[in-house]
């Protein structure tokens, strides 16, 4: 067997591990195994590539430089991924996705420079240009997504007059540039395309609100996959085509599943600048309605003498890193014979599964985490709904107010419980920028402050009662 054939065989094995891995990642039992399998396949493919023969029959050149590049990449990536706070996971995924898109674009550009002298076939140039366009959009788009999540810039949608038209013009310019480069084979124009793609990625992401950014990251992840597949076409490498296409195709489907979990379509997520306007109904809010705020002692007694408490966590819990305190509170309540459950909204926090990850870290048993439908039937018999740092996911406007931007999103019916307790940092509306009528409900009590502080006080109050 020749060296090339052996290499192709190893790539085939690696591609198979990626399929097994993605399949595994979709099931709770095999997810971890899936990731390990993919990592093993990836290691195999990378080691094998050192034995690659270039098209002119040479062995791989610049091996020390390759190793140096890998070393630099690894010493930056490992600590960043290991020691970043759990709440910063979404940003990390965004940034690692962005650099992948950038790498794919660079591979395409370099190959274009490399083969340019040989007057490549039109379809080869097309593959290069698509790789550059998609990879660069993913790179700059992910950078903005990172900035939004990391709060380096406002999480609110950024809109300006004629935005859709300007964005469409940029997209058309990119397409026109591709056509012109295909005809003229001009290298300088390639750099123009690079610049246009870069700007396109930014302006595409600007109008998307912070709450929708996870869906966006999933879409950009899928883009990077397609850019990798395009590089695979250019290089004639089956592994890149298979892996890139797998991610591209499954990523689009995953993106649609994530928007469906918010009760919205993907187009609505991408183009509606969701959350930019504080809902029309908020105007009538200046009518002097008052909220009732309670003391930790009152609420502690209320909790301690309940039969069933449903905890509804949100992003505030993650920000305050209060997962361990909430578990202690739940343990204390259970010791007093109170039934405690957790209601998990599919998009609570900043990413689907955010709350599960967070609560799992505090070793809260799986069985106590109830998905939305089950949680809603539990809430009808609950004495207290304890909302910790959540807002939009329990906002009844999603069901009752057709004028509200979150109308149609499935919510957790916290209002069905006998009493509602909100632990909030302030009266500020949630991420979607919508007022929550439930706060003004007579059966609602508010306790302001950082979730960790207020939960600690509640814990003391429950212990004392």
């Amino acid at each position: 067997m020749s060296r090339g054939t052996l290499l192709d065989l190893i790539y085939l094995i690696a591609a198979t591990t990626f399929i097994i891995a993605l399949k595994g990642l979709g099931s709770p039992k095999r997810a971890r195994m899936g990731n390990v399998v993919a990592a093993a396949g990836m290691t195999l493919a990378i080691v094998a590539t050192f034995f690659h023969q270039t098209s002119d029959g040479h062995s791989l050149r610049h091996i020390p430089l390759i190793l140096l590049g890998m070393f630099i990449g690894a010493i930056v990536a490992v600590p960043a991924a290991r020691f970043m706070q759990i709440t910063a996971m979404p940003q990390l995924v965004a940034i690692f996705n962005g650099v992948g898109g950038g790498a794919a674009a660079l591979v395409s550009i370099t190959e274009f420079v490399h083969i340019h002298a040989e007057k490549p076939a039109t379809y080869v140039t097309l593959e290069v240009l698509l790789g550059v366009l998609i990879g660069t959009v993913s790179f700059s788009g992910s950078a903005i997504a990172y900035a939004k999540l990391q709060e380096l810039m406002t999480g609110r949608p950024i809109t300006y007059p004629g935005q859709q038209i300007i964005n469409a013009l940029f997209a058309l310019t990119a397409v026109a540039l591709i056509v012109i480069i295909l005809i003229t084979a001009s290298t300088p124009l390639l750099w123009v395309l690079l610049a246009v793609s870069f700007v396109l990625g930014i302006i595409f992401v600007l109008p998307i609100g912070g709450a929708d950014v996870p869906v966006l990251i999933s879409l950009l992840n899928s883009f990077t996959g397609l850019a990798v597949a395009a590089s695979g076409f250019t290089l004639g490498n089956n592994l890149l085509i298979v892996a890139g296409t797998l991610v591209g195709a499954s990523g689009i489907l995953l993106t649609r599943m994530m928007s469906a979990a918010m009760g919205r379509s993907l187009a609505n997520v991408l183009f509606s600048a969701f959350g930019s306007v504080v809902a029309s109904s908020s105007a009538e809010r200046e009518d002097g309605r008052t909220v009732r705020s309670g003391t930790p002692e009152d609420i502690g007694v209320l909790l301690a003498y309940s039969g069933k408490v449903v905890i509804i966590p949100g992003y505030g819990l993650a920000v305050a890193q209060a997962q361990h305190v909430i578990r202690e509170l739940a343990d204390e309540l259970e010791a007093k014979g109170v039934e405690v459950l957790y209601a998990i909204h599919p998009v609570a926090g900043r990413m689907p599964g955010h709350m599960n990850v967070l609560l799992a870290e505090a070793n809260i048993p799986y069985e106590k985490l109830k998905e939305m439908d089950e949680a809603n039937s539990e809430l009808t018999t609950a004495d207290v709904a304890l909302v910790v740092g959540a807002n939009d996911t329990v906002n009844p406007a999603a069901k009752t107010d057709p004028g509200s931007p979150i109308y149609g999103m499935p919510i957790i019916n916290a209002g069905d419980a006998e009493n509602v307790v909100f632990l909030k940092r302030s009266m500020r509306p949630g991420f979607a920028g919508v007022e929550n009528d439930l706060l003004f409900d007579p059966k609602t009590v508010l306790l302001f402050g950082d979730a960790k502080d207020t939960l600690t006080k509640l814990l003391a109050a429950v212990k004392a009662s």
Binding site: G26, L92, I241, V357
Partner: protein
């Protein structure tokens, strides 16, 4: 059109269908780990970056290829480590060993 491009197009089509089939039913709690896992998998662009840098004959190609290797390594290494860290938290019945870790870093 050569035979090679048709072959690649065949691989592309089949992979697209496989990609859609394999993730048809994913519980919402696994959306994020799945995204992160597939993020790591497209880090396979490192193979392309290695080939590019390994075939470079001019300084421009060397610089671009070197950058590509760094970025791709960030993607692949970071992707797998983050996914592993996420999934680590899903082990439901493990001893409470990492409890003290994330205390005290609020805000």
């Amino acid at each position: 059109m050569t035979n090679a491009i048709l072959q690649y197009a065949t691989v592309f089509m089949l992979s697209a269908f496989v990609g859609i089939e394999i993730i048809s039913k994913v519980p919402s709690i696994l959306h994020t780990p799945l995204m992160s896992g597939s993020n790591a998998i497209h880090g396979v662009i490192l193979v392309g970056a290695m080939i590019i840098l390994g075939s470079a004959t001019t300084t421009v190609e060397e610089v671009l290829g070197f950058l590509a290797v760094i970025l791709a390594t960030l993607n692949v290494v970071g992707g797998f480590v983050v996914t592993d860290r996420m999934l680590e938290l899903f082990k439901s019945k493990s001893p409470a060993s990492r409890k003290a870790k994330s205390e005290g870093d609020a805000q």
